[in-house]
Symmetry: D2
Subunit: 340 residues, 4 copies
């Protein structure tokens, strides 16, 4: 791989998640491009490939990985297909981003781990994407400073509006709580030693008959911390992911609509941004992305020269008002039809 | 310009803002690349160009715009230099993203407007980037639904930790309140007809002697709405940008650390995300960007196969705990040194 | 007046406000009783007096004040009647709590002031009750510490669901903003030197035709601070009273549903109660009041002995669970019919 | 007891809690007075009695209850003394408010219950005062409307700054979680069928050696709901009592500094007061109480006639500003020395 060129990625699986990753690589991130897509549904693979410059469609993952244009692999197929794709990538020594779960069970995950260990170096990043969420990142950074002392408990809430039709009681653990399992291990730096699952009387509103929903899971870590998780996949009202770390000298909470809120030394609250580069970083990215996208389409959108002129005229009046006191009227030139 | 190729951008000015835009185009957005940079400080231009593949350095904007590699221009030089650069871009019919202010005064802005009008089509997007901020976008979208009725007043706060040394009393209007001027025009869709500036006794904490800081500006729109702005550029404690639209049937507020908060029909509060694609959209982007960046550096970072395996083992124990009740211990394989 | 006896109060005016004060003195506060009520509507006065032990009804304020049972006067009649009642109280040297406004205009207020000054000592407390509101009291206390530096601006919002039918445009100032006038003077300790009233286009939703609603009032104090007030008496959605003090080193805000929230030194937030006596002070008062009220009615309400027993049984099981680990079942005795 | 007279209360126990109740009955609530106090520490009883008009001091509870002046009993002695005092009150058929715990264990509580049941009517209210806290009352009221559907889980947090020296690991359950036990039973209307206590590694910051602090308690109700409680009596940073009820169609949370916050139908938030009588009810009570207290002391405090006059003068200027536009200066009379 030539580092100067964009990374050529083969995306395995073009379902909801795979297609979203294709769009992401094509439109939202820099330095990578979708070189190939793979799906056992040939038509779907071709439809997705057609929307991306220089992208080929395949029904076989190994075939796609054999292409010179492919530098790396993103696995977004269904869980049972992961092991084979991972081993194929290992055979070609390709780096992989593999959606969670790594594989559907511990035994197959162990086989993958042994195969990677045999390569002697890491090739795989697993898609536990909460580790990249700004709120979780801030929570982790705060815990790592040690300001709050050692974490003793982690209270977590994980609520979905409704579960898909195929969802079973055990998938609340293996599909949903899987995120909190990783979050617990990552935030605390402990392995989990024991699990208890409590089952309140199921909700009769929304949840399909027979589904044990909600559940309440208690994870005990080998560092002596507790992590409790409410998982409620048919709560009906929204998608809520909340976490509170209770430490020896304070607590820190994310997911309430606010950013990170701490309770410490007699005060609750959050931090105030110190700079516009921080507050509006994303707005600048979005502005320039919107401009580049429009320009490539041959369009001009966004604030116009009229807007720039009108602001200048108002500010001039404002400066006069500042200097002379009282109310100053703004005189605008006639608006050209171009800016109507 | 071939739409399939990345947009080649000439960035005029490589000071703080220009350098940030260079980094943004190079590293954060897709579909564009920095083809040229321009600065009257030749050394600075060359230092910036050296960090970007295939980027040339120039001291003359017109020269840079003459390059075949340049499809579009981003102007981030100081305000007085904008007019000349804009006219040069018009001469070559290049699309422009021009940082605010468009030009330093209304007379020069009017000249630019006439020049663009003479071209017969829009070429310029002005850099009022608050229109791209997620909170402002939500506020605008809510106002546009008409749910809250007609906006009657806009209360705005604009606070900086400290002003730069060269800041004058009139720059609080022309540099800072300029943003609220545009926000008022954009949110309400009205032109501004009159301005009043009130000057409380200046802060003696932080603000340089003689600077009229804070100021309180009242804008009257031709639609009969009021927009008041507190501008306080030496508040000392943080960067806060807040806006509340008071409408006939409710209010909507941004900038409090919360997202958009409304007061309407007896209730205050905000909306709850309905889906993980919305809640974690940015986390997915950041995850894949981090993976692509690390991969191009030849590294593997992020959650490992061990993390994937450990999560699988805990979830298996969890499913057993769900099914059989009680506490289930987790058995983990030995951790290979690769994942230490 | 014998200090050991409850204070005998004559309440002048038994309209909505007067009747509420009668109930308050009779039922909610200690150390005072309603000795007499006065209303030009004789029937109404008698109806109110009939509900209170040992209370007499009058149509003439001076007559009521002549009663030996009357130690103090609470004036809650309409504004124009205040002056006469105040002078009558002065004649008998009775202490007065006079609802705001003191009198309807500055000239009559001046006459009252001269009459009190002639007595040589204060007899009157004016009913600016926001000075007794817990949030305002906390805001005042914080400002008085000087932690935030000198106050520079006060931003206030005053919103009512709907104005009464007799409300005129000038009453938005004299009846509603009157509160913010006092709050500004009290919080800042300044007199107000100038007033400006801005009138956005009136709301067409809710506000009666011809009423200038909302209005935006700017008060300038002789200490150089600004105090701006949004008054909006037909906002439709709720009663909101908010105030933000912007000081040299931070801001403090009340009325957002939260208690006092400050922005200072890079952080926003509030304080955490340090003790249950503070957090639950009102709950204890309400508990004992409810018990005393029920007992006087010959009833027993509230948590029962069964509740006390069940809690004891659960706690015993809990202590066993703590000591021995695992899940402990609770055995309850049969519930006697008395506690059904 | 004559209902027209204040209720004569004997307060048993004059420690911190008892003394606070004496003050409460004497100064904060209406319709009751402290007729007698009882403490085995004679000096303390006499010191407390000396501060209250017409209050006698006793070392024997039964003796105090024999007084004609005593209509009711408030038991605030230590837990082990409750049973005897309750039985003495039963013997005289006196109504009782008994601080929690009713008695120290389930067996003695059962004896008290049998004794009351034998009387054939309720005489005792147990001091679970959270049932009188405004936030809990609102939460209970909301759950009782059924809007949120059936409660499935209750998440509770109970944090103290520091535990007293005599506190033991089991007192975290029997003294502290006792409140959440009652709250769970009261809010849900279920009995509790099983208890599990989980013990994270103790905090090493603040908590005395050997104290199991924090603990995490899971209560299972006979209605199939779960109630989990974090109890952390040496958290160091504040006193926090929080509860979230997770129901079939939404959640409701108290104790976050906000009032009741719900998540329901895609929105989080709270209600807005509709009226000043609701928003400022307590301020009015406090105002009139402060006035009555000052008046009985022969003082006049609070807003003065000068304040009333100044407000009138400003409002008059404001009405002129409204009518004629622009800025109107306020002319004040000279301030008499009385109001300096």
């Amino acid at each position: 791989m030539n580092r100067r060129e964009p990374l050529g990625v083969a995306v395995i699986g073009t379902g909801r998640m795979g297609a979203d990753h294709v769009r992401r690589i094509d439109r939202a991130i820099s330095g990578a491009r979708v070189a190939a897509v793979v799906d056992i549904d040939e038509e779907r693979a071709e439809a997705v490939a057609a929307g991306v410059d220089g992208c080929t469609a395949h029904t076989d993952a190994a075939e796609a990985m054999a292409s010179d244009a492919v530098d790396a692999v993103l696995i977004a197929s269904s869980g049972p297909a992961h092991e084979e794709a991972l081993l194929a990538a290992f055979a070609r020594d390709l780096p992989v981003l593999c959606e969670k779960p790594l594989t559907p069970d511990a035994a197959s995950a162990l086989r993958v781990m042994e195969a990677e260990a045999a390569l002697g170096r890491r090739r795989v990043q697993v898609g536990f994407m909460r580790r990249y969420d700004a709120e979780y990142v801030r929570l982790k950074a705060l815990l790592d400073t040690g300001q709050l002392g050692r974490p003793l408990m982690l209270h977590q809430r994980h609520r979905n509006v409704a579960s898909p039709p195929f969802f079973t009681s055990s998938m609340l653990i293996s599909d949903s709580v899987a995120h909190e399992v990783d979050v617990t291990r990552w935030l605390l730096g402990h392995e989990i030693g024991a699990v208890t699952v409590l089952r309140p009387a199921p909700s009769s509103s929304g949840a399909p008959d027979g589904l044990r929903d909600p559940q309440f899971v208690v994870l005990e870590t080998d560092g002596g911390a507790l992590s409790d998780v409410e998982i409620f996949v048919n709560c009906g009202f929204g998608y809520q992911v909340q976490a509170e770390a209770v430490c020896e000298r304070g607590t820190a909470r994310i997911g309430d609509g606010h950013e990170l809120v701490t309770s410490m030394a007699g005060r609750w609250g959050g931090t105030i941004t110190q700079d516009w580069t921080e507050r509006f970083a994303q707005a600048y990215d979005d502005e320039v992305q919107a401009w580049a996208d429009a320009t490539r389409r041959g369009e001009v959108t966004g604030p116009s020269v009229w807007d720039g002129y009108a602001a200048a005229a108002v500010c001039e009046a404002g400066v006069r008002a500042l200097e002379q006191g009282g109310r100053v009227e703004v005189e605008l030139a006639e608006r050209p039809p171009l800016y109507a």
